[in-house]
Amino acid sequence: MLDLTYELPKPKVIAGAKHDWELVIGMEVHAQVSSNAKLFSGASTKFGAEPNSNVAFVDAAMPGMLPVINEYCVEQAVRTGLGLKADINLWSAFDRKNYFYPDLPQGYQISQLYHPIVGEGEVLVELGDGTARKVRIERIHMEQDAGKSIHDMDPNMSFVDLNRTGVCLMEIVSRPDIRGPEEAAAYIAKLRQIMQYLGTCDGNMQNGNLRADVNVSVCLPGQYEKYQETQDFSHLGTRCEIKNMNSMRFIQQAIEVEARRQIAIIEAGGEVEQETRLYDPDKGETRSMRSKEEAHDYRYFPDPDLLPLEIEQEWVDDIAAKLPELPDEKKARFIEDFALSDYDASVLTAEVEAASYFEAVVMNAIDALDESGEFIVYTTSSSNKSIGSFDKVQSRDVGKTAANWVINELFGRLKKDDKGISESSVTPKQLAGIIKLIKSDAISGKIAKDLFEIVYTEGGDPAQIVEERGMKQVTDTGAIEAALDEIIAANPAQVEKAKVNPKLAGWFVGQVMKATGGKANPKAVNELVAKKLGS
């Protein structure tokens, strides 16, 4: 495994009237577990169903109904914890968080306050400019989602949809290690990427499957370092929590707006009050939702309907052994095995499907796959089982070309059609075929692009298409020489000029390419022109 070292990003600094201020951010990310059934009932979690159709008796808190834990959800929380390199607690327990709201039928949310299933972990957050920060994870716990209250359908009535009630959420709590709006967005993006790799959360923010509560405070430069040394929060400013954000853009806006609000208060001699706030994207401001005094007293206590959740180390080990390769490891391996730049490796590993596609292209291009030519699926980061052995010299040689083709040509073409990688009409094997033709000098780069378009729209075996349609590059120097001789003979004036000004040799190259229908090997043409014109 490569140990990638990064520079730390600079914290966001906002200039106040009197001082510069730094931002300190911590997040509570709520990620909906991708499961078919809810955390404590068998009801479906399918999005977009008729209101109140995915509701079991226990979800509606009918009298005498009892929760029973969904083991699949527990497994997903453990997987997520392992993916965030976190401690897994073999003994955890559920608590009730009591409050009244119509979309909370039980009158309490079952959560894990005192003993969460996942303990401390960390996430490497890259900013794309070569800097990165390790954000510490404090804990992950499982809890029930609430239902949905609808207040705008009728002037006098409110409606409640319980479809979401009881769906399993993972609350991922970070330490206040995030230092600016961009870092906040990058942190969420990284969590989402990891969970998508793991398949534990689809990361769909629009549907509310990934939401964040953002804690923002400001401090004078130097204070944060004191906090880091001592872990004493008194070095930091008072924080405000911005609730329930489900857009990366709004999260960044809200952080900036909230930080500026706090700076203005402090510089005017006031004190920031710890409170819960909401961001209004239309007005570009945060508004108080409830102050510390109005904060609910949730009366947490252990849920007597549920036994403590005890899991076996063996089970955790088994899950760990089946964990897929994660983004950081995959990226490092791509850089190593395929000679990619940091940037290309990031782009190609952003989504697991794209990474698998790319890898399949390379493996096909170096003939490291069997006849079936299927996508490569990794079982663990270290074993690379299904890939078999391959020649790294070859893979590094092909890697860069393959990356260019996937990122520039394929992604570009798919984007034009508004398609995702999984909808690509070009298979990795076909794209590998094109790359093989380029690498063997059979076709020129320009012809390759035409070939790609044909494969994309019509399909077919690239080598066969090239053969059938006479797209093969002319490397026969005799034919190129004949064409060049003809052009030289027809343009004596140009020949004279070119002898004085070697830059004009390019004109002859262009004429030869034109005469050969673009199929002449440009390298061979260049050499011949140089030789004939004596430059």
Partner: protein, 495 residues
Amino acid sequence: MSDLNKLGLAEARDALRKGDTTSVELTEACLKAIDAADALNAFVHKTPEIALERARAADERIKAGDAPSMCGLPIGIKDLFCTKGVDSQAASNILKGFKPEYESTVSQQLVDAGAVMLGKLNMDEFAMGSSNETSAYGNAVSPWRRDGDDAQLTPGGSSGGSAAAVAADLCLAATGTDTGGSIRQPAAFTGTVGIKPTYGRCSRWGVVAFASSLDQAGPMTKSVRDAAIMLEAMCGHDPKDSTSADLPVPDFEAMLTGDIRGKKIGIPKEYRMDGMPEEISKLWADGAEMLKAAGAEIVDISLPHTKYALPAYYVIAPAEASSNLARYDGVRYGHRATLEAGDGITEMYEKTRAEGFGPEVQRRVMVGTYVLSAGFYDAYYNRARKVRTLIKKDFEDAFAAGVDAILTPATPSAAFGLGEMTEADPVQMYLNDVFTVTVNLAGLPGIAVPAGLDAKGLPLGLQLIGKPWEEGDLLNTAYALESAAGFVAKPQQWW
């Protein structure tokens, strides 16, 4: 046969199998007795159609030689159990008219065992009370009266309707639930047998929750043998209740040998309360003598944390109740207050819950909310949990020292008069549970057995506490005690 409703489960079962009677006859006798006993206010929802239909089906099965353990036996079901399509309102106005779409596991198991449901039985509201006086249906009345006195007495609570119905022979047996003594205290007050099994023996699924870590269902019957038969039908593992134990259910009835020779019976000194009535002390001593005469060894034991049990119970039970009862908010089912223009969700909650819950339930919800509040949690709830652990350990130590069962009085007195405690401090009422709550806190099985009458002719009961999961052994000890005590008194019919 005459007076079929006066039979116990075992007798009726044997009569049915011999063909001496039919389930329809038994059921009709009970229905007639029920209709004649409205003054007891025990049955609050009668289900004669369901009863007769099940009785006819049972007779078919008996005829076909396919009779399960309780086939054709008519019983009553406490209103706390959700019964599909039948009013189940936990004796509360907040659940008025609530007819569940599901059947509780325990009542379903009884249906599966062939039992015939006659109707739903009165109780204290949400099982909170010791006299059945907090019921939204009005109090149930004990069939017992003091000699030469017409004053109406409590059948105890919270399973007061169950106790009154069994004692008055309105049914052969009934279900009860016990959170702090709600089966054992009314059993003792009415000269019936009531067992609370080990926590986790009976599924809580479909039973309206009071205090989840303490609630257990159990049978209330006319004899220990009947309790064995009915408990076996009620208990067993239920995957729908995470706290239900995945353990096999023994044949409890087969364990009733009456042989308790060599058993060690503990007498806990801490249960000898100051001011204990002489009659209770004597009953207790007599009970010990009877067990000794049957060959058991009587040993003095200490359960040192006993005196903290009642306060701990009255922190833990209300705490859980305050959360369990949050769901009764007027949003989805049950009572919703009529609102005035301008009322919002807060007013809806406040008015609905103020109208729907009676005073005792409100008191416990408020106590529970208080003890869980930030700043008080450690002082009350956490401390109570620690006490609970110590109480549990007291029992574990006693059992580890070789004790097989523990004998105590079931209640500090005989049944009191209805209304007598109305003006009293609520704590006076809570003192009724002083001998029974320890058993719930420790999760142990406990059984109340009628053992004698007081000077005014009212029944008194003794409690036996057993080791976890050893209900069979406990029932056998109770069987020996029952045989020795020879309690045969019945209330004089006045209703």
